[in-house]
Amino acid sequence: MAAPMKSVACLIRGTCFLQNAILHDTRFMPRACTHLQITRGRRRTCRPPSWFVRTRTKSHHLNQQELTAENKGFLTEYVEDFYTKKFEETSPLKDGPWERHEWHSHTFRTGVLAVKIGVIPQWDNQGRKFHTTLLQVLDNHVIRYVPPPVFEQSPAFKSHWRNRNGPKYGSVVVGALSCDPQLFTKEYNNLFTEAGVPPKRKLTRFIVTPNAAVQPGTPLFATHFKVGDYVDVQAKTIGHGFQGVVKRWGFKGGPASHGTTKWHRRPGSMGGGREKSGVWKGKKMPGHMGMDWRTLRGLKIWRINTKYNVLYVHGPCIPGPNHCYVRIMDTTLFYRKQAMEDQPPYMPTFFPEDTGDSDLPEEIVDEKLFSFKEPSIRYEEEASTTKKAKR
C-alpha cells in the first residue's frame, strides 16, 4: 500500500537532494527577487544571470499527453490535497507567531503584489470626477524573510542601506498566484518548502525594517493597507518594441511634403561643433520603448473591496496594460508618510483573526469618496455666500 503512495510523491515532488543548499544559498534566488534592485535601468542581455533558477519545466505538456484523463485529475487532486493539508499541518504559523512591533515613521513594511484589472471613474463627495485603477491582490503569501545581516550578503543589497550600526533593512519575498508544482522545476519548488505554500507564479522582494518582519507562510490581503493611505506602485509599462524618436521621445520629425525625401520621422541634428562637439551622453535616440519598470508615488487608496480583495487606487495611469503585475507598498513621500501617523497601518500586516468575530465590511470607502448608496449630492446655500464674501 505504501509503495504506490510513495510513487506519487516521488512523481510530483522528486527527491530533494538540493533542498538545503537552495534555501540558504542566495545564488538560487529567482529572477523576480533581485531584478529591481540589482540594475539601474534595463538589463541589456538575454543571457540568464548566474543566480537564475529555471522555473518552468520544458516538457510539461508532453508529460501530460501520456496520462489518461482520470490520472490527470488524480494528480491535480493530490496536489490540491497535499497543499491544503500541508498548509494546515506544517505551516510555520503553527509554531508560534512572531512578535509584533509598533509602527513608527521610519518603518518600512512589506508590500503586496497585485494584478491590475481596470480603470473606472469615481466621484468625491463634492461631485468631482476622477479615475481610479482597480488592483486585485490575488493569492499573496510571504515566502521568506531575510534578516538584515543575511540580506547584506546578497548582491541586491545596496551600500547606502547601511549605517554605522550595520545594515538597516532586511527583505521579504512575496509570491502571488499559486500553481500546480508540476509546472515548475524541482529547484524552484523547493523555494516554497519553508513557507509551506504551493509554488507561486510570480515572486517579488520588498525591503523591510526588522520590526516589520513577517513570518513566512503569512497570507497577505488587500486590507494590508487602510483606506485613505498613500501608496507607491511599481509596474512594467506597456512594451512598444524598438521605436523611432517621434514615437519614443515625441520629436517633431520633418515636413510631410515640400520636396522632403526620406526625412519625415528622423531626429535631425545630433551634436554641434566647437566645445559642444560630439553626441552628448543621454541624447534621445531611437531604441527599445516601454516594458520598463516605472514608479508612481503617493497615490491615495480610495476604497477597498474585501470580498474580492480589490484596491481602488487614485489615478488612471498606473503603468502597464490590464492584468499586469503591480507592486504596491507604503509611500516613501515624507509628508504623506507623516500623515499616516494619525492612522498607523497594520503591523506587520493585516491578520483576519485580529478583527475578532466581526468580519470586515465588504466595502470600505473613504469618507471623502461618494458612496453610491448615498443620496445625490446637493450644495448648501451658505457655501456660496461665504465664497462671495471672500471675494
Partner: protein
C-alpha cells in the same frame, strides 16, 4: 462562466507579453490552491427570470466595453454593483436617442444651487460608470448642447418628458438642421404613454439646411433625413469611400460587440436586480414626494 469561455478562446498578440492572459487570471481566481482569496463558485439560481431579448437596448450601459484588453470579469461586476446602487437611489428611466428629457442637477454656481435643462437626447454612449448622453435644445435662438454623465452623483432627477425613438442611432445632424427641429420648450408637460405599449418610433424626416455642414452626411446611411439635394459628384465620391463589405462581415461584428451568450448572462443578472429596484421605486412613488424633494 461565459466570460471564462470567451477569454479562454482569445489569441493575443505578443505586445502584451508583460501581462497575464485573462484566462490565467480567471483560473487563479477559482483555483483550489488559492486558499484565502478563492472565490466561492456561484450557485446558479434557476428561479431567476431570463431577461427579454431586447433588454440590452433598454439598458445598454450595463454591457461592458467590448475592447478585449479592457475586459475583466471582477471589474465589470464591481462596476455593475455601483451602477445598481446608484439606480436604487435615484430613478434612471428608460430612454433612447430622440427622447425629450429633463435633467435636474446640483450646480454650485446656479441660483438656488440647482440647474434644470430640457432637450432632445441626440447621442448616447459609454459603458458602465462612464455612460453618458447629450441633450440639445435651442434657447433664445441659440443652440445649446449639454453632455451628462448618467451616474454622476450631482444629478438629482432625470425625467423623461416624451419617450420615443428616432430612425437613427445618433441625431448629430440636428446641428445642421433648422432650429425648429431641436427646439423644446422648458415648461413642457410630460407625455404619459399608456402602459403596455411599445416605445413609439418617430419617423419624422429632417430637412437639413444648406452646406457647409459639420460632417459629410451624404456619406452616412441616415434614415431620418430628407433627400440632401446635393450635386451628383458628392454621391459618387460617397460611393467610392463606402465600405459595403463591412455589413456582412460576421467576424467583425463578433469582435466589436459583447457576444450573445455573455449578453444574456449579464442581462439576466441585471433584469433580476432591476425588478427589485423598480418595485421599490413604485412604492416610493406611491408614498408621495418625500422630504428629499
Amino acid at each position: 462562466m461565459n466570460f471564462s469561455l470567451f477569454c479562454s478562446a482569445l489569441v493575443v498578440p505578443c505586445r502584451f507579453s508583460n501581462t497575464l492572459a485573462t484566462k490565467l487570471v480567471e483560473r487563479h481566481r477559482k483555483s483550489k490552491l488559492a486558499s484565502h482569496t478563492r472565490e466561492e463558485a456561484e450557485t446558479k439560481d434557476t428561479t431567476v427570470l431570463t431577461a427579454p431579448r431586447d433588454y440590452k437596448f433598454v439598458y445598454p450601459e450595463f454591457l461592458p466595453d467590448p475592447t478585449w484588453w479592457k475586459r475583466d470579469r471582477i471589474r465589470e461586476k464591481l462596476e455593475r454593483e455601483d451602477m445598481m446602487r446608484r439606480r436604487s437611489v435615484i430613478e434612471i428611466p428608460e430612454f433612447y436617442v430622440g427622447t425629450v428629457m429633463a435633467v435636474e442637477s446640483s450646480d454650485k454656481y446656479a441660483p438656488g444651487k440647482k440647474n434644470r435643462f430640457v432637450g432632445i437626447c441626440i447621442q448616447r454612449g459609454g459603458h458602465g460608470l462612464r455612460a453618458g448622453f447629450t441633450l440639445r435644445n435651442v434657447i433664445d435662438g441659440q443652440g445649446v448642447e449639454v453632455q451628462y454623465d448618467l451616474y454622476n452623483p450631482t444629478i438629482i432627477r432625470l425625467e423623461v418628458l416624451k419617450l420615443e425613438k428616432r430612425l437613427d442611432d445618433e441625431l448629430l445632424y440636428l446641428r445642421d438642421a433648422p432650429q425648429e427641429y431641436s427646439t423644446v420648450p422648458f415648461d413642457m408637460e410630460p407625455v404619459v404613454l399608456p402602459p403596455g405599449i411599445a416605445v413609439p418610433i418617430n419617423t419624422m424626416k429632417v430637412k437639413l439646411g444648406p452646406r457647409p455642414w459639420h460632417e459629410r452626411w451624404e456619406r452616412q446611411e441616415l434614415k431620418g433625413v430628407e433627400d440632401l439635394g446635393l450635386p451628383e459628384r458628392f454621391y459618387k465620391r460617397a460611393a467610392e469611400v463606402a465600405k459595403p463589405w463591412q455589413k456582412h462581415d460576421l467576424m467583425r461584428d463578433y469582435r466589436l460587440a459583447i457576444n450573445e451568450d455573455e449578453t444574456e448572462e449579464i442581462m439576466t443578472d441585471v433584469y433580476g436586480k432591476m425588478q427589485g429596484i423598480e418595485t421599490q421605486q413604485k412604492l416610493r412613488r406611491r408614498q408621495g414626494p418625500g422630504p428629499a424633494k
